[in-house]
């Protein structure tokens, strides 16, 4: 899973597979980090309760 596992080889199949995996994980991680931090910021700023704007 990581370059320090002994069967990791710097070849094309590993690049493609792990490239895709870490790309997807990064998008999910960054997206959720943004959401959580912004949510914390918004609630601290007191942006309002549950009916300040309607549902989607």
């Amino acid at each position: 899973m990581f370059p320090f596992s002994f069967e990791w080889i710097w070849d094309m199949s590993h690049m493609v597979f792990h490239g895709g995996l870490w790309y997807a994980l990064s998008i999910l991680g960054m997206g959720m980090t943004y959401c959580i931090i912004k949510a914390a910021y918004d609630s601290v700023k007191g942006k309002g309760g549950h009916h300040s704007h309607g549902h989607h």
């Binding site: 590993h14 597979f17 998008i27």
Partner: protein, 417 residues
């Protein structure tokens, strides 16, 4: 008693009735848990698997449930990426169904492996050439996506929404949901396909082996395609059952019709590709390994693998529902629609069955005979376990979360709340 948890503007049955329902399903769940504990304590000898049937009921259940859960990624792709906005009225349910399906798959996998405590090896010591590695990674990541897609629904619960942090978190996640949906579609393309690749790469098993494109056998693409086609059918199937149980209309006909139409065209194009693939396999690929089509089908009495299974999978449960779904006059009749989506769901289950079980039943060495298998009660109980869990989770979600945006409009309450 729990009215503060129930979404505003909708009615739910009494808590007593609900508790009784949960208790009944819970008893089935408990039976499954007992079987699961037996398997963990005593080992896989509790099943009827043997050295000819390394893959059996559980692996079939995994593949089937993931194909049926494909409605989540495909509806998400249609709504967020292609822009079919009307599907927003059913996507919550598609995501919930997907969440149930994928968590069930992971649960079954946790029971199925011989050494569950070593399951992390598939991540840590990954063999990137194996289709199963690809499946494990993508499945786990996609389950993460489904959790991300399900959480905002949980945050919309009346009481949870009152907490400012959860309210904002849900709102922010909704705002960037397209990114998560796109990632989910990307991951789904690969794991749905890799499940097809699991059998397709087995060049030692002429029944399952397919040639293909680069490293991907044709079954890779056929599985993704069929998941995209049958997943929405399963969503409609479960929606209709939920409407029957709750005795309410939950989604407008126009939304279901749109989804059914798209699923129908996906199914039709899929079945044409599947027929071409089957013909090529029977005419070219299998004979190169020394097998004719009929070598793969057994007419022995009591055999599950007569030619009927191929005709059922492609004909009755492939071509027939595809034509029904693309024909508006048939599709718009509720009974016909239900029959069509049921047949499509059965077709996908049959396809996964033959690619997991028939592939092992067929003898390859000329001096071997057909192998037979029937699951043990422990296998059956642990396969029904996730169904019971799914029913409970759906029941809880339906009761306490605003899953269906059109429910209020379709079921106005006298006097209002």
């Amino acid at each position: 008693m729990d009215s503060v948890l129930i979404p505003k503007g909708v009615e739910r049955c009494s808590i007593g009735k609900f508790a009784l329902f949960i208790a009944v399903v819970g008893a089935v769940l408990l039976w499954g848990v007992v079987a699961m504990l037996l398997i963990y304590i005593k080992g896989l000898n509790q099943t009827n698997m043997n050295n000819a049937y390394g893959f059996a009921l559980w692996i079939w259940a995994d593949l089937a449930v993931i194909a049926l859960g494909g409605g989540a990624f495909f509806t998400g792709l249609l709504r967020y990426i292609i822009g079919k906005d009307e599907l927003k009225h059913i996507i919550n349910y598609a995501v919930l169904i997907g969440f149930v399906c994928y968590s069930s798959a992971l649960l079954i996998l946790a029971i199925d492996v011989g050494q569950p405590l070593r399951a992390w090896f598939i991540f840590w010591h990954a063999n990137v050439h194996s289709m199963l590695t690809e499946v494990a990674f993508c499945l786990t990541c996609y389950f993460g996506v489904l959790t991300i897609e399900y959480l905002p629904m949980v945050f919309e619960n009346r009481q949870i929404d009152r907490v400012p942090f959860f309210h904002h978190l849900g709102h922010n996640m909704h705002a960037i949901m397209a990114i998560f949906a796109a990632t989910g579609a990307f991951l789904s393309f690969f794991h749905q396909g890799s499940l097809g690749g699991v059998t397709g790469v087995m060049f030692g098993r002429p029944f399952g082996y397919r040639t293909g494109l680069l490293i991907w056998p044709w079954t890779f693409f056929l599985y993704t395609w069929s998941a995209a086609a049958v997943g929405p059918c399963f969503t409609i199937f479960i929606t209709r059952i939920t409407e029957a149980v709750t005795r309410k209309k939950l989604v407008k006909d126009s939304v279901v019709d749109l989804l059914a139409k798209i699923a129908g065209w996906m199914l039709l194009t899929y079945i044409i590709a599947k027929i071409i693939d089957t013909w090529y396999w029977a005419a070219v690929t299998a004979p190169a390994a020394g097998f004719t089509l009929m070598d793969f089908y057994s007419n022995n009495p009591g055999s599950a693998y007569g030619l009927w299974i191929l005709i059922a999978e492609i004909g009755l449960c492939g071509v027939v529902p595809a034509i029904m779904l693309v024909t508006p006059s048939i599709r718009r009749r509720p009974a016909a629609l239900f029959v069509a989506v049921t047949l499509a769901v059965i077709g996908a289950c049959l396809n996964r069955w033959v690619m997991v079980l028939q592939v092992q039943a067929v003898p390859v060495l000329s001096f071997e005979t057909w192998f037979t298998y029937f699951p043990s009660w422990q296998e059956i109980a642990t396969t029904i376990l996730p169904v019971a869990y799914g029913i409970i989770l759906i029941a809880l979600s339906y009761r306490y979360l605003p899953i269906f945006p059109q429910e209020q409009e379709l079921n106005p309450i006298e006097g209002g709340k």
